[in-house]
């Protein structure tokens, strides 16, 4: 498929003009704080009012039916404008695609519009104390009850769960079944009776995630995604989005690379060719990621396991970009600010969404065809 880059220019211009008029002049407080979370939620409402919160979704749920190319262009403009981080991204980028694939019409109609407007912010609840990379060993249970399920057990490292409204994740509904079977994918309110949440400070102390304890939390049948017992398959359909383009679009890295270049121009020592080369590499890789994105949306076949290649690339690029910026800033690199916030965020990249070690295993086995082995 050919991509008509000139045909999307009017859309690009509209997005750019709107962002220029609306992006806050001073950065919002960190979205990993209570105050910042609220400010980012208000920003989501503003974006939504302009129908820019979820451009690629169908109109009926608050989107614009944007093509993948338009979506990439939106993302480029969004990050180039220095617009706030997306507090609703776990819902928009991880839960919504799962619902589009496995949800009922009732679920789509009920869940997507308030997600688009920022009224309901979602947290992903997958990991458990004993189930990190080995997600299929999860033990939190969903037990059959009248017209629904009772959740028990513990989830952890749940991003945004400190301040979010609702959560989603897989629970073990059939303890007798083989470990990849017998899971059910459920959605639940984070303020439900029986849920205790304990915010966890991330490496810089901000409560970016939380631990969740479930004690007979009732979830009605209408909040099961897909069929009971098929939670693994449903969950895995999310991972392609999480590792692929959807979660980390090229726009954010292009914008960061351009800002890094500005920083080099302003503060770089021309004699420091080692640092200069790192700036160049960040720019080259951001550009590679953009071109690869165009390649991906030009293809008709499913990207499948190749999303693991993507995940390694963007997470390592994000970290390298921010490390380079901090090194460039020298003694100012440790001071609170946008670069440091981005750096702290990027440190988690090689860990979440399946560690990069897991991704390398998947690439070796599923893309290159090397023999599978037990881990």
């Amino acid at each position: 498929m050919d991509l008509d880059l000139s045909a999307v220019e009017p859309f690009r211009a509209e997005v750019r003009a709107w962002l220029r008029a609306h992006v806050p002049a001073t950065p919002l407080p960190s979205l990993e704080t209570e105050e910042g979370f609220a400010a980012h939620r208000a920003w989501e409402r503003e974006l939504h009012a302009a129908r820019l919160a979820v451009v690629s979704w169908p109109r009926e749920y608050g989107g614009r039916d944007a093509t993948p190319l338009e979506w990439l262009v939106f993302e480029e403009e969004y990050y180039a404008a220095g617009a706030p981080g997306r507090v609703g991204q776990n819902g928009i980028n991880l839960l919504a695609p799962t619902l589009f694939q496995h949800g009922t019409p009732e679920q789509l109609a009920r869940i997507l519009p308030p997600m688009a407007s920022g009224e309901v912010i979602w947290a992903q609840a997958w990991s458990e104390p004993g189930a990190g990379s080995d997600l299929a060993s999860l033990r939190a249970t969903a037990t059959r009850a009248d017209d629904g399920w009772l959740l028990n057990g513990q989830k952890t490292w749940s991003s945004r769960a400190a301040f979010a409204d609702r959560g989603f994740g897989p629970f073990r509904s059939d303890p007798q079944a083989e470990r990849h079977r017998g899971l059910t994918y459920l959605m639940f309110p984070l303020d439900a009776d029986g849920i205790t949440r304990r915010p966890i400070g991330r490496i810089d102390g901000k409560p970016a995630f939380a631990e969740l304890f479930f004690d007979d939390v009732f979830v009605p049948d209408r909040d099961v995604i897909g069929r009971p017992g098929e939670g693994w398959r449903v969950a895995m359909s999310t991972t392609g989005n999480e590792r692929g383009l959807t979660l980390r679009s090229p726009g954010r890295f292009l914008a960061a690379a351009d800002r890094l270049l500005e920083l080099w121009r302003a503060h770089g020592d021309p004699a420091d060719t080692a640092l200069r080369d790192r700036v160049a590499d960040a720019w080259i890789k951001a550009r590679a990621y953009r071109l690869k994105g165009f390649e991906t949306i030009s293809r008709t076949e499913d990207v499948g396991a190749e999303s693991s290649i993507n995940k390694i690339f963007w997470s390592e690029l994000d970290l390298a970009l921010h490390e380079t910026a901090l090194d460039l800033l020298g003694p100012d690199g440790e001071l609170a600010g946008e670069w440091l916030e981005g750096y702290v965020f990027s440190l988690a990249g090689p860990i979440y969404a399946g560690t990069n070690e897991i991704q390398r295993d998947l690439i070796a086995e599923r893309v290159l065809g090397l023999p599978r082995t037990g881990r």
């Binding site: 071109l291 295993d361 070796a364």
Partner: protein, 338 residues
């Protein structure tokens, strides 16, 4: 804009792959290294017959028109098979001669003897050309096999005569310093044309590198699937798997840069795009080569093993046509120019 190959371009690549496979290219490379050039020149003519050189020459000069995406497709295959000979140099020379053809020059015009005489022969595969573009390309590759040797030094274009060759890490690359001779063209236009020729050389060199890396990854994966130690294929070991996954990640992101640079041909961004592509392709191919060597173990370190031909070539092309450092510096200079 097309960011993936169309059916015809894919078929072109597959045709060349088949041709190069059937030609027994590793044997051709060994002959070439030993100074027996005829099999390599025969391969040159077959590849030209398949259109590999016509796509570097404009239609009015007897070619198929300069087709950058087709060129990188072809050079990817030349890289995968390690075809010997000054292909990159001949493509660069075609660009040089053609660009000078548009300029009113002292000594000769493009529609005068040089371009008119050589471009049609390049297109049909009857002229092998080598060149130097000092300082970035100081040696004329395989100049002893070339029918025409050029050197474009700043504003002066010379025909040139090769001296004795230097030995390269890759014995199939014979590198010659040259003695400048006649001056068929001089003036600022020579420098402009030489810069364009350089960029095109860098682009196809980058494409060749990605092809080399790709092939090395393919053969190394196959080796890891079949070579057994401790009672199982070494490809079951996580350390080996991760090496190979890393090689793939690098190559997967070098390819779109090469394709993107080909699409940028003719735009003012072309120099910076080819620099980005060369950095990524050099690093990805050289990384793949080191991983191929490591995973193969001692056999990869031997002269007799065919993939070794590519391991050596990856190293030589890493720094040929501008090292990664050179291109990073050029990129930053371009990007920070106010």
């Amino acid at each position: 804009m097309r960011f993936i190959l169309d059916a015809e371009q894919k078929l072109f690549g597959e045709t060349l792959d088949k041709l190069l496979t059937e030609a027994g290219t590793p044997g051709v490379v060994r002959d070439w290294a030993a100074g027996t050039h005829e099999p390599g020149l025969a391969l040159w003519r077959s590849l030209a017959g398949a259109g590999v050189l016509a796509i570097a020459v404009p239609e009015h000069a007897g070619g198929a028109g300069l087709l950058p995406v087709e060129l990188v497709t072809a050079f990817h295959e030349l890289g995968r098979h390690g075809a010997p000979g000054p292909y990159v140099e001949t493509v660069a020379a075609a660009v040089l001669l053609d660009r000078l053809g548009d300029q009113p020059l002292t000594g000769v015009r493009g529609d005068g003897p040089l371009a008119a005489a050589w471009l049609p022969r390049i297109a049909e595969g009857t002229a092998v050309v080598s060149l130097t573009l000092p300082p970035a390309v100081p040696y004329a590759l395989d100049a002893d096999t070339a029918h025409l040797v050029l050197t474009a030094d700043r504003q002066v274009l010379h025909t040139a005569t090769p001296r004795e060759p230097y030995r390269s890490l890759d014995p199939a690359r014979r590198l010659f310093t040259v003695v400048p001779g006649d001056v068929p063209a001089s003036g600022p236009a020579v420098a402009v044309a030489a810069a364009e020729a350089y960029d095109m050389g860098v682009l196809v060199c980058a494409a060749q590198l990605v092809g080399i890396g790709r092939r090395l990854l393919e053969v190394t994966v196959e080796y890891a699937r079949t070579r057994r130690q401790f009672g199982r294929p070494i490809g079951e070991f996580q350390a080996v798997k991760h090496h190979l996954a890393n090689a793939l990640v690098g190559l997967e992101y070098a390819r779109p840069l090469v394709h993107g640079a080909a699409l940028a041909c003719g735009s003012p961004d072309f120099p910076r795009e080819v620099s980005a592509a060369k950095v990524a392709a050099s690093e990805a191919a050289y990384t793949a080569a080191k991983i191929a060597l490591q995973v193969h173990g001692a056999i990869g370190y031997t002269d007799e093993y065919d993939p070794t031909l590519l391991i050596r070539k990856a190293r030589t092309l890493h720094t040929a046509w501008g090292s990664p450092t050179t291109h990073r510096a050029r990129l930053i200079t371009t990007l920070t120019r106010i």
